[in-house]
Symmetry: C2
Subunit: 418 residues, 2 copies
């Protein structure tokens, strides 16, 4: 569909209205430092959900809640037999989260509905805005729980049985906030788009407004344990040591090198490292650290896995240590749907927004939805790339631009009825 | 003095009696795993002190206790105007300590007294066996407290005012166990010898029985803090990171290199390292670690200090990080007295024991005493170089050999009265 010649080529969302909605939702769970603490399935989450439901009903939507608490606000299409064109994200936050992570994607969807209503635009396919349950995983794991159940990444029963630190289950928490909906198979989705702040520095660094997300990186996480020999730092000459921290330090540098050598998308991070006995004048006998490897395709990720294991084996042999490598998490790489990705790219161009192709380094609900439906994401910059932080911030003009791209891409997928 | 022609050249200590005393003292505070927990100035320390005092009195000694609780058992010389020839060590242990660390030096001194008594040997100078208070520093810091006060490294008032985790002061603890003695200036010492397990692997590694300790390494300890930029491991490309753990890992390797390049005596150790926020998928924003540098002379130690600071500055500049280096402890290198060191070496040779020159990488009471008196140390091997551990162990034959060298060296210094 050629938007330039369509009756809606002049249609734009209302950036001020979008911003106002973001600020109003951000008051629920607002923190003193300007952030938001609205943890999944708490009373504050209920208040946020209720506000979204009220707004969606005011926009003429019907509301459906599924058994894991995902909310779907539906705007009727002229052909209700068609699968909906869907957008959405999440409104739960980290304990010290910001106003935009997740919330932007949900309210950008709401803004699309309001824009269509104001302009009297009808679409052939229905349009839905989803609020996915517990994306952050701060209180209940697994993360991306609602979209994970929707996509069949794990079962509803598994998710409902998870408990928080106080022993409260997901099922109990859903009932207590009134969002335990109907069980049933996940309905088909015609196309899924998710707008999100980038949560990284790439767009800002390149001075671009729209990130055309081509894929989400695959992830392999590991626990690595280095077992050496604890000994006194004073009496033990350098050549007789089996220092676990020396080997671990080499491996921290190696994890970095493995990723740097596989530019531009590979990532390698040691985020946690613990030393035993962690005493000033004792040579470390044991070090435990995490490794997080990410890559855009499985072949590269496997290659990185092998490079990590080879480095560990080499270090163990050279230093006379035992090094154990245990993989603890695997998320496969998830490419997004090329024709939807192209729709995002082309509409950004049409609207005159600078854009660039990016990959999503982090997980998002769209990554699970992409397992069962055509899907794409739209990134907009966030200040200094900072997210999961109360100082998380984004420019109103960028949020507006991302929402206009979303509007266009959704209309193209849902087909405007002339 | 030529021991071969002296009347005492055939004199030997009783290895079985020494071993029996070690095992008997080790029953006070014995742990299930075969170690000893006899922390300074506790009821168990009192019991250990009382046993030593009883044994020393049975050996004909007079007992003197000073204001910091050091015990001096004195065997009269024929010329009581001469300063005593002294030996000693400590009987306090680490919480999970062994039977030999410190205890060996005290009971080797007692065994020397018993041997002289049994053989009816008189010396011109008096002989004293010292039990120094709180060498380990497990309950009260500073470490090597009794010998530190004796040598004027810090004041009696400072030491008495220190408090343990329960708020009990050294002064209170000394009074409660009945070992708060008389204040007064430290008396002159003619010569001081201390026998000790090596607490390291060098003698075992070289197959030698006697370590002739030429000096104690100087020490500089540091707190290093690397301040980078916390960010998400997924969305942040490798080239835009300011990873504090990467810089810290380079510096861990650099600390090792600084010592390895200054063989054989230099030491460089990172014993503690802490990562913030220490989360799997967050690039470390801050890392704090300790550095422990040791060298046999101040010029080399200063050279190592400069190499460390240069490496930190280089890493900070290359990686765009702030690195703060704060020196928190300085112990100057302490050479032992050449003629006493030579007496240890020559007597080991005379007795047919294999020996080698070593440095003390750890602190010992002798290191403080060497500030105010001629001093030397005698090391014997401990199994696998392990100390400060309940499995700490030593061969009876090695303990006997070290005690025979001590006997000879003390007799040479105190002069046998024919």
């Amino acid at each position: 569909m050629d938007m330039k010649s369509s009756p809606c080529s002049a249609l734009r969302i209302d950036g001020a209205r979008l911003w106002q909605s973001l600020m109003e939702l951000a008051r629920i769970g607002a923190t003193a430092k300007g952030g938001v603490c609205r943890i999944a399935l708490t009373e504050l989450d209920r208040q946020g959900r209720d506000l979204f439901v009220r707004w969606a009903r005011e926009a003429g939507c019907s509301i459906r809640v599924d058994a894991i608490g995902n909310i779907f606000a539906r705007r009727t299409g002229t052909d209700e037999a068609l699968p909906p064109v869907m957008t959405g994200s999440h409104i739960d936050t980290q304990p010290t989260g910001g106003k935009f992570d997740g919330n932007y994607g949900v309210l950008a969807g709401l803004e699309v509905l309001r824009t269509l209503n104001a302009a009297g635009v009808r679409t052939r396919a229905p349009i839905e805005v989803a609020v996915w349950t517990n994306e952050e995983g701060s209180r209940f794991v697994p993360v991306m729980m609602g979209s994970g159940v929707f996509a069949g990444a794990f079962t509803l029963e598994h998710a409902l049985a998870q408990r928080d630190a106080q022993g409260i289950s997901v099922g109990e928490a859903l009932r207590s906030i009134g969002y335990a909906g109907q069980a049933g198979p996940a309905p088909a989705v015609g196309a899924y788009f998710e707008a999100h702040i980038e949560q990284g520095p790439v767009l800002e660094n390149h001075g671009r407004v729209i990130g055309v997300v081509t894929a989400a990186l695959g992830q392999r996480w590991y626990d690595v344990t280095v077992q050496g020999m604890e000994a006194h730092a004073g009496p033990t000459p350098m050549e007789l040591r089996r220092d676990a921290l020396l080997a671990a330090s080499e491996l921290v540098l190696e994890v970095n090198r493995i990723a740097v050598e596989r530019k531009p998308h590979a990532r390698g991070t040691v985020g946690t490292l613990e030393v035993f006995p962690n005493s000033r004048n004792v040579i470390p006998g044991r070090v435990k650290f995490s490794v997080d490897l990410r890559a855009p395709d499985d072949a590269q990720l496997l290659d990185m896995d092998q490079a990590l294991r080879a480095a560990c084996a080499r270090s163990a042999a050279e230093r006379g240590l035992a090094i154990d490598v245990e993989q603890v998490v695997y998320f496969p790489p998830q490419p997004f749907t090329p024709r939807l990705v192209q729709a995002v790219r082309a509409n950004a161009d049409d609207l005159g927004y600078s854009s660039m192709d990016v990959v999503s380094g982090a997980g998002h609900d769209a990554v699970y939805v992409a397992r069962v439906a055509p899907a794409a994401m739209i990134f907009v910059p966030c200040d200094d790339g900072i997210s999961h932080n109360e100082i998380e911030s984004a420019e109103p003009a960028h949020l507006e631009a991302g929402c206009n791209v979303l509007l266009r891409a959704m209309l193209a997928a849902a087909e405007v009825v002339a």
